[in-house]
Symmetry: C2
């Protein structure tokens, strides 16, 4: 059952409307947290927590640039799944 748990963790990380929106955006272009915040219109701490869920699963990765952080999607499976959902 272990394999199913790992897979379900990945799906769970993606299975939230805000996180799906973040991922869709990040697939188009990598993006800074403050930009996402403006785009999503939800509190900063909420954005940060959603990002940390995606990061913990290895779906996105941060790159520090001075005081800002730029995230991008690094998981190919996540990209493929988003594409399937979009069809």
């Amino acid at each position: 059952m272990k394999g199913y748990e790992v897979k379900s963790e990945m799906l769970k990380a993606m299975a939230h409307p805000v996180r799906l929106k973040i991922l869709s955006g990040l697939i188009e272009n990598e993006c800074y947290v403050n930009e996402m915040q403006d785009n999503l219109n939800i509190p900063q701490s909420t954005v940060s927590q959603h990002l940390s869920i995606l990061k913990r699963q290895g779906i996105i990765a941060p790159r520090k640039e001075g005081v800002r952080t730029c995230y991008k999607v690094v998981d190919k499976k996540a990209i493929k799944m988003i594409n399937i959902l979009d069809k």
Copy 2:
């Protein structure tokens, strides 16, 4: 944001180890509830509830055969996503 909610509902329906296992099995062969039960080794009501979550999302569909019910996967996207997870 509506589209993201719809998509996240589908992912949430799939994002559980038992439901992933059910789906993997059903992709191989359609199957009766009592068979799944034997296979999963969890209470009947629990199996039934997982099936109803997948059914509500239109991922699987039942076919009544006498007193038994045979389920199969009817959502192509779900199949594709499972395949991606399996790679």
